[in-house]
C-alpha cells in the first residue's frame, strides 16, 4: 500500500475543536455538529436506505459524542472517531433485523421510496429528461446493490468514495488493516460493476 505521511491528530482542526469542547467550550461542539452532521446523515442514509431513521440515528451519534466528550482521545482525526461511532450505530440498527426483511423484499416494482423519488422528478422534457431519468434509475439500482453487499464492504466503499477518506482512514474507522480495506473496496466495486453490467456496457468505448 502507498505509504502516506501519517496525520498528526493535533494538526487536525476538528481535533482542536473536540479538545476545546472537552474543556467546556460548547460552541466548539456546535461547530463540529454543523460541519459533520450533513455527512453523518448522508452516510447513515446510504447505509440503511431510510431517511427518517437516518436522521434519528445521526442525532444519536452526536448525542453519543456529547456524552463521550471525556472519553475522547486525540489519537486520530476526529472524523474517523465520529464515523466509527456512526458505523457502530448502523450495525446495531441493521441487527434489529427489520432491514434484512425490507431489502429481501425489494423487487423492481416494490421500491416505494424510489417510486416516490421518481414522482418528485423535475419535468423530464425540460431537463434532458432521458439522461436525468437514467441517472435516477441508476442511483436507485446502486442503492439496492449497496444494501445487499456486506456491511463492512458498504462502509468501506461509502467512506472512501462519498467522504473521500483514504484507505488508512477507513482502516481506522473499521479497525482493520489498509490491505483489508483495499480488498473490501474492490469487492464492493466489483459487486456494483456486476449489478450495473448492462449500464456499464452500454457506454460507448
Amino acid at each position: 500500500m502507498e505509504q502516506r505521511e501519517p496525520i498528526a491528530p493535533h494538526d487536525d482542526t476538528d481535533v482542536q475543536l473536540m479538545l476545546r469542547f472537552q474543556k467546556g467550550d460548547v460552541g466548539a461542539f456546535q461547530q463540529l455538529f454543523q460541519k459533520f452532521s450533513p455527512a453523518v446523515v448522508n452516510f447513515v442514509f446510504h447505509f440503511l436506505g431510510n431517511r427518517a431513521r437516518a436522521e434519528e440515528i445521526a442525532q444519536e451519534v452526536f448525542l453519543q459524542v456529547y456524552r463521550w466528550q471525556t472519553k475522547y482521545e486525540a489519537k486520530a482525526k476526529f472524523s474517523t472517531w465520529l464515523f466509527k461511532i456512526a458505523h457502530n450505530h448502523c450495525l446495531n440498527e441493521v441487527r434489529k433485523g427489520e432491514y434484512r426483511v425490507s431489502v429481501e423484499s425489494l423487487g423492481p416494482q416494490e421500491d416505494a421510496e424510489g417510486d416516490e423519488r421518481e414522482r418528485q422528478l423535475p419535468d423530464a422534457t425540460l431537463h434532458k429528461g432521458e439522461d436525468i431519468l437514467a441517472a435516477k434509475q441508476a442511483a436507485r439500482r446502486i442503492e439496492k446493490i449497496l444494501r445487499r453487499v456486506p456491511e463492512t464492504q458498504r462502509t468501506a466503499l461509502m467512506l472512501s468514495r462519498l467522504e473521500g477518506m483514504s484507505y488508512q482512514e477507513v482502516a481506522e474507522v473499521l479497525g482493520v488493516t489498509e490491505k483489508a480495506v483495499k480488498s473490501l473496496v474492490f469487492r464492493a466495486t466489483q459487486s456494483l460493476k456486476d449489478g450495473l453490467k448492462d449500464i456499464v456496457d452500454s457506454y460507448d468505448l
Binding site: 500500500m1 502507498e2 431517511r51 452526536f62 441508476a138 442511483a139 466503499l157 460493476k193 456499464v200
Partner: protein
Amino acid sequence: MTCEELRQELVAYQDGELSEHDRRRVATHLSTCTACTQEAVSFARVGQMFSGMERITPSPDFAAHFWQRLEQERQAEPETRFAQWWRELRESMTNWHLTPAFVGAASVLIFFAALAQRPERSTITSVSPPPVGKKAQDQSRTLISPDRTVPAEVTEETDLFVEYKIITELDKFARFEEIAAVDLSTEQAVEVAEGELPKDILDNAEFFAQYPILQQMERLENFDAVLAAPTQDEEQNQG
C-alpha cells in the same frame, strides 16, 4: 503480474492507493493489455456513477430537533449513579458491537450477583458502581500505584474499571477459563463453548480479550480502593 492479479489492483490504482512500484506495474500492464484496459474503464464508470450519487441533506428541522433532544437530556432529572454507570456501560458495549440480548442477559447476572453478594440490601440501587468518566480517571491517577508487573495499558484503561463488574460476572459461567483460553474465531472454540455461552457472546471475541487485562488489574496493590473509591457526590455527602 497476470491479468487476474492486476484486476484486483485496479480499484486501488484508480483511488491512488498503490505504492509507486505497484502503480508503475499496473500502468505498464495496462499499456499493453486491451482487456484489462477495458476492465479499468468499467471500474472507472462504476466509480463515477457511485461518487455521483445524490447527497441527501438533513431536513430543515433536523438541527433544531437535535438541540431540543440534547437540552431535554441535559435538563432531565440527574441520573442515579447506578443509571449513569449502566448507561455508560451499555454505550461502551455498543462500541464492542454487543447486542441487546447480551446486555439483557448481563443485566440479569449483575442483578442476581448484587443480591447474592449484598444480602443486607435488597434493591438494585444498592449496587455501588465504580467511579466513571473523568472522575474515574482523576481518581485512578491519584489512587493507582501500579506495581512494576502491571503494564501501562492497565493503568491507562480506566474504562475497564467500569466494565470490571460485568466482565467478572462471566466467571460464573462454568468452564469460563477454558472458553476464554481458546481462540473464539475457530471451530474448536464453538465446540468448547457451545451450549455454555449465548451466541451473542461467542460472536464478540474481543470481549474475552479484555479478561487477561482485568486479571492484571486485580493485582494492583490498591485495586479494591480504586474500585470502591467514593465519587465526588459521596465525598460531599460525607462532608
